[in-house]
Symmetry: C2
DNA sequence: CGCTCTCATACAACCGGTTGCACGATCAAG
DNA sequence: CTTGATCGTGCAACCGGTTGTATGAGAGCG
């Protein structure tokens, strides 16, 4: 069995080998691949046949060296395991692939320093960047954008190409939906600090609150994970809310679990709305959530980047993808919560106090 | 604002620029980075300072051309969005990063042709491959392994380095667990054709069945997704089983949804066990599942690959990671299923027949 | 004081493609 | 039959590093 060499592959044939074999020059062989229109069709034919025969694969490093582009773009996300990203990554990879680009993936672990490290490392080998939900300060991003073509996802910085998954409309619909169901006090459980999406959602909720005359308690899942969602349930119930909008589907599921543990039934006693619509397919009842086009964002970001690489002048690019509420099974009419008493029996003092307060308030529908 | 050039970055300084500026030769500059021990410390100092000053970044393509290695490894998975993979990908990326390697990610969409395309495309730019759950025929993989260093995850091919997430132990425990709970007829809902994991799980179940004297119905989720899981519920109930082991957590959740739709309560009426333990954090009650060390698999695969690239001779590498059952909330004692009659009331004819058959059989516990 | 020997650095070839330009052949038009 | 355009191909420089070898300066030694 032939041993595979570590560095350059064993007998990987080069242009010269093919050229020698055919008695033509290296440039002819090269052109057979890059500019076949300059060659006699028959010559192209011969070269390709020989290449095929030797299973020749052009050396991309050499090509990159002379042409100045590598055919690679970098995609950096804060957390691959966050279900928001895989669809985005997949779309990005597929879009890149269609135009003969590869994707270098980086996971910054929600850590700006790590993100910077990755950017610096990748800079050597890629033609451009897509940074999804970057946690870097605006100034740093502007700086990087000057050095290499760069497209942001879910960061809104003027004059830096960006693709935004805009949850405003969906969140507004979510609030309206809860209002229609008769909820009067709701809560928002926020996400990680520095998250553009979180900011945007907070703003949307605040705006919608006025319109519908609701009381909104702002809480935070710390961290913004399933466990964080479960943990926040105590304050959530104490707040007197009868419905919650969560930063994302993961937190929403954590909240669902926390509610279930306390015997609070969903949607009978409490309504829960998620955000992202990436986990709908994993619970029963299925989660009412704000659907975003996160996969599209990945595809669009890549195509913008490739346009940029193609040298096109695009001006100030700012794509905004809209959103809408998808009503499924975790939202229902308000006012029935006090029937379920299991939660009261088991509830700790603070929770009970919260419920008592709630009782004295006005009850809708 | 300085325009960023498409191809090679605007004024990206090269070795020569630094060399000229310092009045030294290019090789000296180069060695300041690669072999500083050959230079006078003071010289190294000066070079590094100048490099820093000009924010010099070595051109990886040029480096790759002369050294023969790119500092990139490829990782190809069948489906990024399958929650089994993100932890694996993250571990792989992080492991690679620690040794100054980058990861090119490919998604084959469960399609062997696409997988081959990606491999061929990537071959130009990477030093080696990690193929996770490859859908390629054994022969093709052996062939590829001859050309480039390659490590498989969840494919067991002699003389090709491989890391296996072995679910046998966990599945055995799962069957034992169900037997202890008094289940006598159980079902296995299998995964995608060609999946090594599915094969392995089938074998484990078959082996365990004999030991515990259980009847096992083999079913298939088509496709092996949430929707497929939901769809298989009808035949599942018709089979007379009172518990099911699903190919993976996603299918298990689909089954949970399908059961819930029919009013079959879990775990009171029916027990469900998943596999992978990657989605436990998304339902209530939390899923009883077979825990695998999928993240570890990614990390190990990468470190094996890097050892290979380092030129180490490792012999026939075959890592096997074990598994175990994690009991959570979706499994319970058998025998109570017939109490829940909602499902009977709504059940279509075939389902009812299935239940009738079941009734005539022996009932445990 | 001259001769090694060592050390730091310079020179130049090379990695494997790409590409502007030159050259010779072919062919049509004058 | 000459002339000039056109076409196909070869030549050679170049991309930006790496690395084996040559060179020169200075230290150590007799």
């Amino acid at each position: 069995m032939p041993k595979v060499e570590a560095g350059r592959s064993a007998g990987a044939p080069t242009l010269s080998v093919i050229a020698a074999r055919l008695g033509v020059s290296r440039s002819t062989v090269s052109r057979a691949f890059t500019r076949p229109d300059l060659l006699r069709p028959e010559t192209v034919e011969r070269v390709l046949a020989a290449a095929e025969d030797l299973s020749y694969v052009p050396n991309q490093a050499a090509r990159a060296l002379s042409t100045g582009h590598n055919g690679i773009i970098a995609l950096i996300v804060p957390d691959i395991a966050n279900p928001f990203f895989p669809p985005l990554i997949r779309a990005a990879q597929s879009g890149a692939d269609q135009q003969d680009f590869c994707v270098l993936l980086g996971d910054s672990a929600e850590n700006p320093d790590q993100e910077t490290r990755l950017i610096n490392r990748f800079t050597r080998q890629v033609d451009g960047f897509v940074l999804a939900s970057s946690r870097l300060p605006e100034q740093a991003l502007v700086e990087h954008a000057k050095r290499k073509p760069l497209v942001l996802v879910n960061r809104d910085i003027p004059r830096v190409p960006r693709v935004l998954v805009d949850s405003t409309a969906g969140i507004m619909q979510a609030v309206a939906h809860l209002a229609e169901l008769g909820h009067q006090t709701i809560a928002y459980v926020g996400g990680p600090p520095g998250s553009w999406s979180d900011h945007q959602r907070r703003r949307a909720i605040t705006a919608a609150r006025a319109e519908h005359g609701l009381a909104v308690t702002m809480l935070n899942a710390k961290p913004a994970t399933y466990a964080g969602g479960t943990r926040v349930v105590e304050s959530l119930l104490a707040s007197g809310a009868t419905a919650v909008i969560a930063f994302d589907d993961v937190v929403a599921h954590g909240i669902l679990a926390g509610l279930a543990e306390r015997g609070v039934r969903v949607p009978d006693d409490f309504s829960v709305i998620g955000c992202d619509d990436v986990l709908a397919a994993t619970t029963y009842p299925p989660l009412t959530t704000v659907s975003l086009h996160c996969a599209d964002a990945g595809g669009i970001a890549v195509s913008v980047l490739l346009e940029l690489l193609g040298g096109r002048e695009l001006g100030d690019v700012r794509y905004s993808l809209d959103s809408s509420l998808t009503v499924r099974g975790t939202t229902g009419p308000a006012g029935s919560r006090l029937r379920g008493s299991a939660s009261l029996a088991e509830a700790p003092g603070r929770l009970r106090a919260g419920l008592a307060m709630q009782t004295s308030g006005p009850q809708g529908s």
